[in-house]
């Protein structure tokens, strides 16, 4: 279980997160929604160690990991995707997936200096599998910079799957996708990403949230205003007010 306790984070005068406590239940897909600027991405940046916290505690399976850097958190089995896609553009698609697996092995000379792109290497096999799952196998040998946006998003997920993390944080994986593409992404998440993992899904597309999430948390102005079953949360007056304003 991933647990946040009274997390505070400010950027100068701007209070991005104020005393946010959140439990992400193991093995479930938890949704995280909120209007623009409510602190969703800041929360993911904190959970993945990209930003240090001002105060509070982060617990992973009961172990305190507050203050860990993003490489340490990543090695503990937490992996994330990015709202603004980050891929290695000057590498091929399959190399992007292999790159995620380098730090999985313990640090050794053989691991460091051995060839990484041998066709019969287990890493290459895993990478090919993940690309097949994400329906990118035909693009495997293209340069990542040549991919269109929806495929880049799927490449990010393929890369995350290759690491086989315990916890996966998806930051707007359907951003910029058409309804049809979003639909097929929902299927992929339910079939391949979620099973056996703890997921946090940030989204603006409510139909995707309603379709895949079992638990939902709402942020507003850096504070948590609701958590619970999606259909219940959607109808809470505070949530409606945050999105639509007071009547």
């Amino acid at each position: 279980m991933f647990e946040l306790r009274e997390i505070c984070k400010s950027f100068g005068e701007l209070r991005a997160l104020h005393s946010v406590s959140l439990k992400i239940k193991s093995g479930l897909i938890t949704g995280l929604i909120g209007p623009n600027g409510s602190g969703k991405t800041s929360l993911v940046n904190i959970m993945s160690g990209v930003y240090p916290i001002d105060s509070g505690q982060i617990l992973l399976d009961g172990k305190d990991i507050s203050g860990a850097t993003s490489d340490q958190i990543s090695r503990l089995g937490v992996f994330r995707t990015f709202q603004h896609i980050r891929i290695f553009e000057r590498m091929t698609v399959i190399e992007n997936v292999i790159s995620a697996m380098i730090s999985l092995e313990p640090f050794s000379l053989n691991e460091l200096l051995g060839q990484v792109r041998k066709p019969d290497d287990p890493k290459v096999k895993v990478a090919q599998n993940m690309l097949e799952i994400m329906e990118l196998e035909e693009e495997a040998t293209l340069f990542a910079s040549e991919l269109p946006l929806p495929k880049r998003r799927r490449l990010e997920i393929a890369r995350a799957l290759a690491r086989d993390p315990k916890v996966i944080l998806l930051d707007e994986p359907a951003g910029g996708m058409t309804p049809k593409e979003t639909e097929s992404l929902a299927n992929l998440i339910l079939k391949h990403v979620a099973p056996g993992r703890t997921c946090l899904l940030i989204e603006h597309k409510m139909d995707l949230i309603a379709e895949v999430c079992e638990d939902l948390c709402v942020l507003h102005h850096g504070e948590k205003i609701a958590q619970g079953e999606p259909l219940v949360v959607f109808n809470q007056p505070e949530v409606i007010e945050a999105y639509l304003g007071k009547v």
Binding site: I87, T92, S103, L113
Partner: protein, 301 residues
């Protein structure tokens, strides 16, 4: 026929290729160093002192000079590991100027055969006589330079295909994403800097013994700027990129008598044009990859 002038040009290409490769290693990890000439200089001085004043064997002196350069590079990169971009460039430039100015004050002379030998500040360090004492011909020394260059290229080739090489290229594209991939950039930046320092050191030590005379002003910032430009012209997609850059500049521009004296103007223009039209050089990552695929297909047929 291979006359001595041609051989000197060829051996120059070999030695300068080593410092160009050292700048290239840092370029692919995303750092622009204006200070690789410092390691070239440290090794030139210490290697030449070892053979001339202490009478050490050549190979041990070569290792000694290059290791000193690698250690200096390791110290500098540990100190600068938290800064990047322009700030990193300025820090490396400052260090290399510190080294050059220290060499201007550095005097360490000994009487050998009734003559004072050794570095003496701005007067430089002459009488590096290892080549004459051992009757090494220009041709032999050129072959020696290329033997070392080929060994370095083989090592870099192995690294390029390895996980370490992939990490270097990941760092060069997105250090934050590399960190999210579970890799600590600090470790790999220092590894890259030490490797680059060692390779620049090999070049420097060979340079001192080839020219038999060195002085601090050889190791000024223009040498560092050139070594950067070689990678940027030749391409950052393969270890052959910087070699192409060196061959173009020293082999082609310097040898054409027509543009003699205008070489730096032509070279500067070439760098500017490349940065506009091919920002990552002739053999950039994409072209190298396509070339490899084409070669593979060709061999299959």
């Amino acid at each position: 026929m291979l006359d001595d002038y041609l051989l000197t040009v060829i051996s120059n290409i070999g030695m300068i290729s080593l410092i160009a490769l050292s700048a290239y290693i840092l370029l692919i990890t995303g750092e622009i160093s204006f200070g690789q000439q410092a390691y070239f200089g440290i090794s030139a001085y210490s290697g030449a002192i070892a053979t001339t004043l202490w009478g050490w064997p050549f190979w041990i002196a070569l290792l000694f000079g290059s290791l000193l350069a690698a250690i200096a590079a390791g110290v500098v990169s540990t100190l600068t590991v938290r800064i990047s971009g322009l700030y990193f460039s300025i820090a490396t430039l400052a260090f290399s100027e510190m080294v050059r100015l220290s060499l201007l004050k550095f005097s360490y002379q000994k009487e050998i055969d009734g003559e004072l030998v050794g570095p003496n500040g701005a007067e430089g360090f002459g009488e590096i006589r290892w080549i004459f004492e051992n009757n090494i011909s220009v041709l032999q020394y050129t072959l020696l330079i290329y033997l070392i260059l080929i060994l370095v290229l083989i090592c870099l080739f192995i690294i390029e295909r390895s996980g370490l090489g992939m990490i270097f290229r990941m760092l060069g594209q997105d250090p934050m994403l590399t960190r999210v991939h579970g890799l600590n950039p600090v470790i790999y930046k220092v590894i890259a800097a030490v490797l680059a320092g060692f390779i620049a050191g090999l070049g420097g030590m060979l340079y001192a013994h080839s020219f038999t005379y060195i002085e601090p002003k050889i190791f000024n910032v223009m040498l560092g700027v050139h070594s950067l430009a070689y990678g940027l012209i030749g391409g950052l997609g393969t270890v052959f990129g910087p070699l192409i850059g060196v061959a173009l500049d020293i082999g082609f521009l310097e040898s054409i008598r027509v543009i003699h004296g205008y070489r730096m103007i032509v070279f500067g223009g070439l760098v500017a044009l490349m940065l506009i039209f091919m920002p990552r050089g002739i053999l950039d990552e994409n072209r190298v990859y396509r070339l490899k695929l084409a070669l593979k297909n060709w061999f299959r047929v």
